[in-house]
């Protein structure tokens, strides 16, 4: 690598400026979350103040936030679980079978990722109403399966594609059934990939707003819905608590993304690039 010192200087400068812009909102959130109520709305805004953890205590003590945390966790886990159970076998077929129509189906799954959810939400709402799924955790879990399915199928497929097919063929020759090959050979060797896929899908569901806001109301409130309504009143926004709650809701996901950094691109491009 031989680049001119000037080029390197420009690159470094741009990277530092860019990183600061990326970090600015997060940094400001941290500052605001540590301020007392008066300090958060002080003008000009304060950069130096006596920090307090009261916002974090308040948020963690509030019934609503804890409920939202629980709802989000249950709904994301549930939808990822169902998504994996139905999506992984499908990805296996996509990778290892010559079943006609499989690519058409796969492209169809892709469209769930591409389609603005508004196109299907009104009929979905009517179905939910008649089935009593409106404003229930189960209902939102099912809707979120739609949100995570494309990612699960396509990324899992890219992981299975990378496995050597010879082992499965040997198992077949030895008389193992298809199901046994899948359960005892493919799944264990794909396990690291599957964990990655599940984690990425979890993030998608965790951050999802649209279905949550349209299909649930008072009984079930995920974090995005709760954040958007609880701390934003008509007259006053509780910036301190909002920031504290935002950080608490974001931190687990940020850690997850940083841990998964290596596989991120595969997830972002649905397995097209790795």
């Amino acid at each position: 690598m031989k680049y001119s010192p000037l080029a390197r200087l420009v690159a470094y400068t741009w990277l530092i400026v860019g990183n600061l812009i990326i970090l600015a909102p997060i940094g400001w959130m941290i500052l605001q979350s540590l301020k007392g109520k008066i300090d958060t709305i002080a003008f000009p805004p304060k950069f130096i103040f006596s920090p307090t953890l009261v916002n974090f205590y308040d948020v963690l003590a509030s019934q609503g936030f804890r409920q939202a945390m629980l709802d989000s966790t249950l709904i994301a886990s549930g939808s990822v679980l169902i998504g994996m159970v139905v999506g992984v076998p499908f990805a296996y077929v996509l990778s290892r079978s010559s079943m006609p129509g499989r690519f058409e189906l796969a492209e169809f799954i892709l469209s769930t990722k591409m389609l603005p959810a508004i196109v299907v939400v009104v009929p979905l709402l009517q179905i939910y109403k008649s089935l009593g799924l409106l404003d229930t955790r189960l209902g939102l879990v099912i809707a979120h399966v739609l949100v995570v399915l494309a990612l699960i199928v396509w990324v899992t497929r890219s992981f299975i594609d990378a496995l050597p097919v010879e082992i499965e063929e040997a198992a077949y020759v030895d008389g193992a059934s298809g199901l046994r090959t899948l359960l005892q050979i493919v799944l264990p060797s794909a396990a690291p990939g599957l964990v990655t896929v599940a984690a990425l899908a979890f993030i998608l569901s965790w951050n999802e707003l649209f279905f949550s806001i349209t299909l649930t109301g008072t009984q079930v409130r995920t974090l995005p819905v709760y954040m958007g309504t609880e701390y934003v009143g008509f007259l006053a926004v509780d910036w301190g608590r909002l920031s504290a709650a935002g950080l608490l809701a974001t931190l687990p996901v940020v850690i997850l993304v940083l841990v998964l950094q290596k596989y991120l691109v595969r997830g972002l491009s649905l397995g097209a690039l790795r």
């Binding site: 997060i26 079978s97 090959t181």
Partner: protein
């Protein structure tokens, strides 16, 4: 080819097929029906209603400006980050880690945070602008700046997406080719335009189409920051369809907008499907 037993293969695909039928295909047909079906059979009157919406063309223009602007800006910035990292050896991993953080941020939270920072009266952005003698704009609450403000937040949210993919693309460029070019005396610019960019063509294309789709269906940022306002200043088709369905209770008009969104989506999804299939088969 493994999985010779077709029955087993069909059994494995069945759950996904059922889910798609129930959650996607059936609702799609209902949407199509309510978009094209009136009191007296087939009709285009719902589309006429859609076009007659007050400010419909503004909404169309907003959608185009938002989608194109956000897509291009985040592609450009993401590319700039990824390319800059090629000049850097010390701290490359560190920079890369920071640059992907917004990917993990809930769009609701980043939108609320930007609203807090760009609050015209009390926000930190206008306070800092005031320090250097600039009177800050009204940002999300001002008619001329609302669309630009939500676009800025969207770009902040999605530049990391473009960066992450393009960074991986740059990292995967064959080092022997780059080395050979350098030995043959290619300068930095030739290296970029004659070697890197052509090799990155597919990566760039995949990134662009994915990014375009996400920008086109953006809901969270606009919904949280402005709800499409003030007036219609930052209203896009998706937001408008949401309002038609859930605020004005006109599901037929929402369905008509949905059909338009669907057509655009289908046209733009084709190349992705192709690219994905090609990349992995």
């Amino acid at each position: 080819m493994l999985l010779r037993n077709p029955k087993f293969a069909y059994a494995l695909t069945l759950p996904v097929t059922i889910i798609l039928l129930a959650l996607l295909i059936y609702p799609l047909f209902v949407t199509l029906k309510s978009a094209f079906w009136g009191d007296n059979g087939l009709t285009l009157s719902h589309f006429a209603d859609m076009v007659a919406i007050d400010g419909f063309w503004t909404v169309c223009r907003n959608t185009i400006v938002f989608t194109a602007g956000s897509t291009l800006a985040s592609m450009f910035l993401g590319f700039l980050f990824a390319y800059s990292l090629e000049f850097v050896t010390l701290g490359r991993r560190f920079f890369a880690s920071i640059l992907i953080i917004p990917l993990a941020m809930m769009p609701v939270i980043s939108s609320l945070t930007f609203n807090m920072m760009m609050n015209p009266a009390l926000g930190v952005v206008n306070a800092l602008l005031k320090e250097v003698g600039i009177r800050g704009p009204l940002w999300a609450t001002g008619t001329p700046t609302a669309l630009l403000t939500v676009m800025m937040v969207d770009v902040w949210q999605w530049t990391p997406f473009c960066f992450a993919i393009l960074h991986a693309g740059f990292r995967s460029l064959p080092s022997d080719v780059m080395e050979a070019a350098r030995i043959d005396g290619a300068n930095t610019r030739q290296e970029l335009f004659k070697i890197s960019l052509p090799l990155l063509r597919n990566v760039l294309l995949v990134t662009l189409v994915f990014r375009f789709m996400e920008a086109f269906k953006t809901f969270d940022v606009i919904y949280v920051m402005t709800q499409g306002g003030p007036g219609r200043a930052s209203e896009t088709m998706v937001i408008r369809a949401y309002k038609e369905a859930f605020q004005f209770f006109k599901p037929e008009t929402a369905a008509a907008i949905g059909v338009v969104l669907l057509v655009v989506t289908l046209i733009s999804t084709r190349p992705i499907g192709r690219a994905l299939l090609k990349a992995t088969t």
